[in-house]
Symmetry: C2
Subunit: 439 residues, 2 copies
Amino acid sequence: MLVEETQAQASSATAQAHALLQDRVVATYLIETAFSLEYAAEVIAGEQSCGTFVAVPGETAALKDRHGARVISIKPLGAVSAPSLEGATAPHSARVASRYERGEVTISFPFHNIGPSIPNLLTTVAGNLYELQQVSGLRLVDLDLPASFAKRYPGPAFGIEGTRRLAGVDGRPLIGTIIKPSIGLMPDEIRPLIRDLACAGLDFAKDDELNGNAPYAPLAERVAVVMDEINRAADKTGKKMMYAFNITGDVDDLRRGHDLVRDAGGTCVMVAINSVGFAGLSYLRQHCELPIHGHRAMYGALARYPMLGIGFTAYQKICRLAGVDHLHVSGLGSKFYQSDEEVSQSILDCLTPLYGDYRVMPAVSSAQWAGSAVDTYARTDTIDLLHLAGGGIIAHPGGIAEGVRSMQQGWEAAMAGIEIGDYAATHSELKAAIEKFVV
Amino acid sequence: MLVEETQAQASSATAQAHALLQDRVVATYLIETAFSLEYAAEVIAGEQSCGTFVAVPGETAALKDRHGARVISIKPLGAVSAPSLEGATAPHSARVASRYERGEVTISFPFHNIGPSIPNLLTTVAGNLYELQQVSGLRLVDLDLPASFAKRYPGPAFGIEGTRRLAGVDGRPLIGTIIKPSIGLMPDEIRPLIRDLACAGLDFAKDDELNGNAPYAPLAERVAVVMDEINRAADKTGKKMMYAFNITGDVDDLRRGHDLVRDAGGTCVMVAINSVGFAGLSYLRQHCELPIHGHRAMYGALARYPMLGIGFTAYQKICRLAGVDHLHVSGLGSKFYQSDEEVSQSILDCLTPLYGDYRVMPAVSSAQWAGSAVDTYARTDTIDLLHLAGGGIIAHPGGIAEGVRSMQQGWEAAMAGIEIGDYAATHSELKAAIEKFVV
């Protein structure tokens, strides 16, 4: 039925294969299985390349050699007595087993199966894998992508350096806030708040992720009011606060929102990455003349169960490739589920080189206040971050200007290695913050 | 600091609120918490509307009334002794509890917080909820959306009726296959396979989700070869097989891929919904002149753990709104993790009316063969589905034409209520399928 492979065709295919196979996508998974790790790894490799549930004509050795995924390494990580996920099978068609092996499995896929496309990459390295009965746990934990991806996707247009340049901040983290209440302020109610924030010398402010182009306060109206106040403050103080306008929406909305912000003199746009999807994000990057502040809302659905989904190390590489300049990582001591260890690692992930300088600025957020600087700096030893405090600035007992000052003082203390209580003795804004936020 | 509300403003705001609040988005969650269900529900409502971790100025009663999410109902579902997710807290700042309540919680959000935007809807009804420490489990299980969404999103352009019309199939399910091996066939190797499939009277065939616009066999080359064979067969037999070309890619790829397929006389395009994201999918729908075959690769990452993510009932509504015409639901007796009950419910979900006729054709797939018809029909009582058998057709011992015939016979038996073994006694293709695929 299929074209028969002649000797000549086969050897030409082999030569071609050698040329093509230099580039491979490497994916690392945490898996759990009632089978042997070796067997499960082969099932994963087969499912995401040439295989189906039964041998089919045309599945030749040459085809498998050219297009098959390959198991590179298997590292056993011990066993558990119950499956982490439902719907898993066990050897000999059993529904349960008494032992489920865990391991880290690394698999490579031919680049020429995929092409330089984030969507097709996702289908290959994640895709149907989560559905397999042969695993009772599967999480994509890391990715290593060939340079061909960097040719197609230019990555962050501004990154850390570009963001610092636009915000005019060196030698310390950018300090920022989120407009609160998250949603509900009318444009006229936002105006005095922005004025206070910008005049207080804040580096950065942003819309809440909930606040996109809502009918009660359309983006165009908010942009006009916010930029008017930011520009007025800049005229007075010489410092132009960076504001990340939430332009999350459909493809046309992204472009329209971006142009609106750019034309009003804005210096940042924000998108909820998972709400839009990677095709939308890449589209925005292609047309974008401003830093993209990447919010990871909904990432918890992909990540909170440790034996499922996509780990942050893999996730943030895709986000960086698609072109975000800032990426949310939660915060130490936050109101969210992540441990401080996980948040610290996420910060470091964002700062790990990828294709030269695809580094992005981690946006540290959620229940942050002046004192959060100490742990954050101690654990990560970096000042290349965007430290966002919503209530931690806006609800400071001395008002916004003192809230901003308290955040700066928190970082001064952290960077100088001075105990925060000691530093507060001579810095009243920090002292007031400690009294308010330490419960 | 904020504009003071005068009496007059307050009463005007109230009048406005009444007008605006007619439309609300209603979301239903399965939750688990160490706190009371009532408290957890209020935390969810607060997090996704006006709240932050501390009270802030401007959070007035009028604002909360106008923009707050509201808990509509709470249905207790019993308790468990251990948390389903990590990172959950318990009352009085404890890290663990001895009892975690489960319940179904329904919450409504003002439409005017969101606007008619799928991305902003996702940020609101899912978004940061998965991150909350106050829950040890959270899954979005259903959504009820106001009509304003239907004004913005036209839904499936073809749906069940349009697909049947284009494929020329009435009175039974569409029978289809997936080109296997999933990846690796060169255009010249696909040619005879397509010829055999189209000449065998198959209704539908599709690319594997792994096979997009791969460098080894670019979409343009595959479209040319596949449509050439389909058109030749149609000239001979009068029946034009529908072929879903996988155009998954970035926004520009989607448009280019669609135009390529349309210009070659193709009748269907396919996208991996989660790889592209909803903004990309809606963009495609806006420009699309062909049915969109929606593959749900990666959905398992959002769904396999029962106390996390997004349930299919909610998920498929968003897919339908965004405009897919066909939607994958796995298959009964599949190689994937879903139970037969879950697959049956997914089929019925796709067929449940939404905004009049936003129904989509469920694509039943994964380890399907002729015999799968019996259970599928018995459990769902519908013929409005696309029954896909990859190996089940291509690996049929009598070849493709017999494989197709066996699938048709499976449905004839199922619809006539004849035991499949009895029907096979007089139908040799079905008999051969049973001998091959019943293990």
